[in-house]
C-alpha cells in the first residue's frame, strides 16, 4: 500500500507510461498482424478474435482481484468445466417443465455454484491457512475429476430444444457488437469500479502489498481474500454462461490449461504476480494479446506448426521485457 501511494505522489507521468505498456504491446501486435496478413484486419476476423478472447478476459478480471490481493487461483479452468457441466445438467432437467426459461434459471444456478466454488477455495486458503497455490491445485483436481465423472469421460450435451434459444448468447450481437464482448465490457466496468473506486478495492491492494501492515491498519485480510475468490467464482460462472452456447457441450477437456492463459493475461496486463497492484483494463489487453498472437500464428505461414507454442512463448517474454524497459 505504501509503495503505491508514494509512487502516485512521486512521479505520476512515468507511471502513466508504464501503465500504457500492455496497450502499446497490443497495438504493436495488431499493427504487425495487419502488415503481415491482409486477412487479419477484416471485420469478421477481428470480431472472431475479440469474441473468442471473452472467456479468458472475463475469468481474468476475477483473477486480477485474487492476484492483487496476494493469492493465486489455479482451479479456474477446471471450475469453469465443472460449472458448465452443472449448468447444462440443470437446464436439461428443467427444460421439459419450463421450456426456454430453463436457460435463465440454469444460468442463475450456475452463478450460485460458481460463487460457492470460489467460496470453497477462499475458505481453504484463509480459514485453513493453506498456501493458495496448493489449495487451488487441490480443488483444480477435484473440479476436473467431477466433470469427468459427471460425463463418464464423454461429453454432456445441452438439450436440442434449448440450443436455438440459447445460441444468440454467443453468436448474437447488440448494435453489431458480439454479445460476449458486451458481457465482457460490463464485467470489466463493474470490476474496474470495485477495484479502483471502492473501499474493498483499496483493501484488496493493501492485503496484497503487505498483509501484516494491512492487518495492523484494521483490514480483515482473510475476509478480503475470501471475497476475492468469490468474485473469481462469479466471473468463472459468467464466462461459463457465454461459453455453453458456443459448442453446446461440456467435456473433460473443457477449459483445460485456461488457468495458465488467465494468469498470463493478468501478468501481461501489468498486475503484479506477488500482489498489491491490479490493472483491470491491462488484464483485458493481456487476454486480447494472447488471442491475437494465436490467431496470427495460424494466419501467417511463417512458423512451422511444430514451433507455434515456442514462438508464442517468445512473444510473451518479449512483451514483458518491453514492459520492464518502458518503466
Amino acid at each position: 500500500m505504501t509503495s503505491v501511494t508514494t509512487e502516485i505522489a512521486g512521479a505520476p507521468r512515468r507511471i502513466r507510461w508504464a501503465d500504457m505498456g500492455p496497450f502499446i504491446a497490443l497495438a504493436l501486435v495488431v499493427l504487425i498482424g495487419t502488415l503481415i496478413n491482409t486477412n487479419f484486419a477484416t471485420g469478421t476476423n477481428i470480431a472472431n478474435v475479440v469474441t473468442r478472447s471473452a472467456f479468458i478476459a472475463i475469468i481474468a478480471v476475477g483473477a486480477t482481484f485474487v492476484i492483487s490481493s496476494g493469492c493465486l487461483d489455479l482451479s479456474v479452468g477446471s471450475m469453469m468445466a465443472f460449472v458448465t457441466g452443472v449448468m447444462i445438467l440443470t437446464m436439461n432437467r428443467l427444460e421439459p417443465t419450463m421450456g426456454a426459461n430453463a436457460i435463465l434459471v440454469g444460468a442463475g444456478f450456475g452463478l450460485i455454484v460458481g460463487a460457492l466454488c470460489g467460496l470453497l477455495n477462499g475458505l481453504i486458503v484463509t480459514v485453513g491457512k493453506i498456501e493458495p497455490f496448493i489449495a487451488t491445485l487441490g480443488t483444480m483436481g477435484i473440479f476436473r475429476a467431477l466433470i469427468t465423472w459427471m460425463s463418464d469421460g464423454g461429453s454432456i450435451p445441452i438439450d436440442r430444444a434449448l440450443r436455438d434459444p440459447y445460441r444468440p448468447v454467443y453468436f448474437g450481437n447488440v448494435l453489431g457488437i458480439p454479445l460476449p464482448v458486451v458481457v465482457t465490457l460490463a464485467v470489466v466496468l463493474v470490476g474496474a469500479f470495485i477495484l479502483y473506486r471502492t473501499k474493498y478495492g483499496r483493501r484488496c491492494m493493501a492485503a496484497g502489498s503487505n498483509a501484516d501492515v494491512a492487518r495492523f491498519s484494521g483490514v480483515s485480510v482473510a475476509r478480503v481474500r475470501t471475497t476475492a475468490f468469490v468474485i473469481q467464482g462469479l466471473c468463472v460462472a459468467i464466462a461459463a454462461i457465454c461459453y455453453i452456447p458456443r459448442l453446446g457441450a461440456a467435456t473433460p477437456t473443457t477449459g483445460q490449461l485456461w488457468e495458465l492463459q488467465v494468469i498470463t493475461a493478468v501478468v501481461i496486463g501489468g498486475t503484479l504476480l506477488r500482489g498489491g497492484k491490479g490493472r483491470i483494463w491491462g488484464t483485458v489487453a493481456g487476454a486480447l494479446i494472447l488471442e491475437v498472437i494465436a490467431n496470427l500464428m495460424v494466419l501467417s505461414n511463417m512458423v512451422s506448426e511444430y514451433l507455434v507454442a515456442a514462438v508464442q512463448g517468445v512473444i510473451i517474454i518479449l512483451a514483458m521485457l518491453a514492459h520492464r524497459f518502458i518503466k
Binding site: D152, G153, R246, L247, V298, L299, V308
Partner: protein, 320 residues
Amino acid sequence: MKRLTQRALTLATAASLLALTAGGAVAQDKRTIAVSIPAATHGWTGGVVYHAEQAEKEIEAAFPNIDVIVKTSPSATAQVSALEDLSAGQTLDALVILPFTSEELTGPVEQVKSNGTYIAVVDRGLTDPTIQDLYVAGDNIAVGANTAKWMAEKLGGEGKVVVLRGIPTVIDDERIQGFTDVMKDTNIEILDIQYANWNQDEAFSLMQDYLAKYPHIDAVWANDDDMLLGVLEAVKQSGRTEIKYALGGNGMKDVIEMVKAGDPVTPISTPYPPSMIKSAIYMTAAQFSGQAPMRGNFKLDAPLITPENADQFYFPDSPF
C-alpha cells in the same frame, strides 16, 4: 515390546503364506484376467472404460470360471503402480493392457510376464514386441488413407482442403501420413495442417482462423470426431457455403448419428473404435475358456462408416 512385534510379524507372514497357497489352489479352476487401461480423461478413453466394463460383465456372465478385473489409471506412472498392485495381490493368468506410453510400460509388463502371465497389448505397442502374446490395434494409417480416398473421389480429384491434427503423437502422425500420402497422387491441394490437440474448443478457433485465411475451402478433415464438432460450429457461424465436406474420424456416437441421418456435409466417418479393448478381452477369454489359440497380431480394419452400416458402430449408451 520387541518380542511382541516379532511375534506379530511371524503371524503375518504365516497368514500371507496361507493366503498365497489358498490363492494358488483356487487359481487351478478359476482364471483371472486383469485389464489395465487409462482413466476416462477424454471421449475416446471414456469409450475404452465403458467397453472394458461392458466386456467384464458379459465375460463373467458367460464364463463363470473367469474373473475379469478392470483397473483404470490416470497416468503412466500410476499405471505402473497399478500393475505392481495387481500382480502382487494375486496370480494373474492374463493381462490385457492399453499402455499409456510404450517406453515406460515395457519393463513393468515384462515383469508381469515373467510370472507366466499371458499378455495382450491393445492400441499402443510395447517397444519389445516379443513380450506380447496378442496384439490388438486399429489402423491409423488406414483411418487417414480411407478418408482421403473417399474425399478425393467425391471432389473429383481436385480442390482445396484444410486439415486439423491432434496432439503430437504417433497416432496423429500416422493418420496425417495416411491422408497426405493419398492426396499426393491427386490434384487436391492441402492448404494447411495445424494442431488443435483433439480439443473441440481449439478446433473451433482454428477453423475460424482457416475460414478467415482462405477465401475458398472445398473440404475439411479433422482427424477426430471431437474436433469435427468444433469445426462444424465454426462453419455454421461463418455462413460459408462452399465447403462440401467436413469429415472426422474415430466413430463418435454424435457423428455416427449424423451419418445415419444422411448428413450432406458429414456423410461418412472412419472407425478407430475404443471397443477394440473388448476385442482383446474376448480373445483372451477365448484363449482360456475354449483354448482357442489367440496368439498373434490382430489389426482392425478402418472401413468407412456409411448410413448402411452405421448401426454396427453405434453405441447409444457409450459416452463416446
